[in-house]
Amino acid sequence: MAEATIIVRNRSGLHARPAASFVRAAAGFGADVRLCNLTRDPGRTASAKSMLAVLGLGVGHGDEIRLEATGADADEAIDALLALIAGGLGEGTAEVIGE
């Protein structure tokens, strides 16, 4: 299993288009990718491939999230998703705080 933690720095968090970009990217990998909002609800994880599940985590600007992936391309999935979030999901820049 691969995992990483990052703070979401783009303006509106994982909402609308940023969430859509994220879900589309996650769906491109065979690995099972799950997401946890450490800031608001650390006890719950949700599928990163479900738009509704990702929206349901309510990830806002400044929230810390954890990504977990299991499967053949787990490392690639985590790297790609981290890069996407760090790039601001099309809205601006973010920073990686741990891996």
């Binding site: 968090g13 479900s50 738009m51 509704l52 599940a53 349901g56 309510g58």
Partner: protein, 556 residues
């Protein structure tokens, strides 16, 4: 002929038969399975998203893109699949699964996420229609669309060449349907109480998206109104286009700051595109609406910070909640009041329930710190006297200390209670700015309920009593160098804007749709001419006469 008054949501005018939007009933087409319906719905939504993007509507396009992903969401389809396996019909199953997902999103405290609940319901309804083999709602001829409210996807789906105008019983000028109508150049009026019942059976409607009214069976009078508007429209549009990139100023270059009035974070992009120099009135009621419990500090701060970040260096005046009275909320316990406009409203609520206002103040302070605003601006509504200012100031100082913020926001007041003008010299010593709310000031000054249609003629702020009040406010503010702005509807009215400039008002804030007309009016007079008109209007016998004098000069 009957006239319904609503709220102007998109400018323009049109006459056409009404079309009441209803989903096409079962066409007898064979039922298709859930998978095929999902595929079809995704295809439709992707197509509509691309169409909106091509039209330069990225925000609305994003909503539809997100909806396309929702339509194919594994979680949604699994929930629907389980219901189908248990014997439920496919259309009912997807509607139930959509409702379940929407209810979960509604529980989120963040306004932006909770708003997606409506999008999920819309998606589920679309898939259910596809399952039943129903075509999307459509117009069969050029019509004025009459509905309670419209989703972005439905609005985008309608054939624009047949859509002459939009009349909504519900909705608000900030709803997506209104934003789309403005972008598509379709006149729209929203908030038309009794519209659906009244339009039922009408042969023709006139929609006036400037005046915010709908005429039923407009006849000869309506046609004349339309012809008059059309002849002026093209020339006006050309002149306004030429002014788009220019600042708001008189012909001789006297600058007046141009602010936008906004009602939610959704309004910022339209305001910036229109050339707003800042926000003169950010109404915060949106964050309290449609909730069973009061929004917490984080929820509010996130919504405010978004607007502050969007405007960056440009000033944003955040108005504290103006609730209570005629705008009740489930979590604010209000005693029934015989005169809600004169009742426990806005900051008056804080005397009984200080936590509501304190939470908002902490949220604003937090948002300003998060967005790194060097000089945050807060405006208190319904201030009557110095005691009100000091009460808010105390709560604000406590909020700054509680958050541990480095910067204390500047506190200004909305001038709408006449007593504030009588003691304006006292207030000027303790506030950072004045901003006149001309709608309420007019109703209070003239003792004429603005919700009473029988008194509509008494609501014109061009009344000499209102103009003299503003003149005396400007005079009281000047020695202290306190700026006077106007954020009421008068500022967005070309006649009002010229007179206010002549009276010495230094900032006008209005809906961005009014920017063009106001720039054009102000550019047509010199400062001396505006002052002369204003001075003359102070001595007018009534509002209509004053308005007539200025209109004549402006030829509007």
């Amino acid at each position: 002929m009957k006239t319904l008054r609503g709220v102007a949501a998109a400018p323009g005018m049109a006459v056409a038969p009404p079309a009441v939007l209803e989903p096409a009933s079962g066409t007898g087409a064979p039922l298709i399975g859930l998978d095929a319906a999902v595929t079809e719905s995704c295809r439709q939504l992707d197509l509509l998203a691309a169409r909106l993007r091509d039209r330069g509507l990225p925000d609305e396009s994003e909503i539809l893109e997100a909806q396309a992903l929702m339509a194919a969401d594994p979680q949604l389809l699994e929930a629907a699949g389980q219901r189908i396996a248990a014997g439920m019909a496919a259309d009912d199953a997807i509607l139930a699964a959509g409702e379940e997902a929407a209810a979960l999103l509604e529980e989120l405290t963040d306004e932006l996420f909770a708003a997606r609940a409506a999008d999920v319901r819309d998606v589920a309804a679309r898939i259910a229609r596809a399952v039943r083999g129903e075509a999307p709602p459509r117009l069969s001829r050029r019509s004025i669309l009459v509905a309670r409210d419209l989703t972005p996807s439905t609005t985008a789906e309608l054939d624009q060449s047949l859509l002459a105008g939009l009349a909504l019983e519900g909705g608000s000028p900030t709803a997506h349907a209104a934003i789309l109508a403005r972008a598509l150049g379709i006149p729209a009026v929203v908030g038309l109480a009794g519209l659906l019942a009244a339009a039922n059976g009408a042969a023709e409607l006139l929609v006036d998206g400037n005046a915010g009214l709908v005429m039923l069976e407009p006849g000869a009078e309506g046609r004349q109104r339309l012809a008059h508007w059309e002849t002026e429209h093209d020339a006006r549009l050309d002149a306004e286009r030429a002014l788009h990139d220019r600042l708001l100023a008189t012909a001789d270059g006297h600058r007046v700051m141009l602010g936008a009035n906004i009602g939610s974070p959704h309004d910022t992009s339209a305001a910036l595109r229109a050339g707003a120099e800042g926000v003169g009135l950010f109404r915060t009621e949106f964050v309290f609406m449609g909730r069973r419990r009061a929004p917490d500090e984080q929820t509010q701060a996130a919504a405010y910070a978004q607007v502050l970040r969007d405007f960056g260096e440009r000033p944003v005046v955040i108005r504290l909640m103006d609730i209570g009275g005629d705008k009740p909320l489930p979590f604010v316990v209000l005693e029934p009041e015989p005169n809600p406009f004169l009742g426990v409203r806005a900051i008056r609520l804080a005397e009984r329930d200080p936590e509501l206002l304190s939470t908002q103040l902490r949220a604003v302070v937090r948002a300003a710190a998060e967005a790194d605003v060097p000089r945050p601006l807060i405006m208190a509504p319904m201030v009557a006297d110095l005691a009100d200012v000091r009460r808010v100031r105390t709560l604000l100082d406590e909020a700054v200390a509680a958050v541990g913020a480095a910067v204390t926001p500047q506190l200004g007041i909305m001038v709408e209670v006449p007593s504030a003008i009588v003691v304006a010299d006292q207030l000027a010593a303790e506030v950072a700015f004045f901003s006149v709310g001309t709608n309420d000031l007019t109703q209070y000054l003239l003792a004429a309920d603005r919700t009473n249609a029988a008194l509509a003629e008494r609501q014109d702020p061009m009344h000499p009593a209102v103009l003299r009040s503003i003149a005396s406010l400007v005079a009281a503010a000047a020695p202290r160098g306190v700026p006077v702005a106007v954020c009421g509807e008068m500022g967005g009215d070309p006649v009002g804007a010229v007179v206010l400039t002549g009276l010495g008002v230094s900032e006008l804030s209005m809906g961005p749709a009014s920017f063009g007309a106001v720039k054009r009016a102000l550019a047509s007079v010199t400062l001396a001419e505006a002052q002369e008109l204003a001075t003359r209007c102070l001595d007018a016998p009534d509002a209509a006469t004053a308005r007539g004098w200025v209109s004549e000069r402006l030829a509007v």
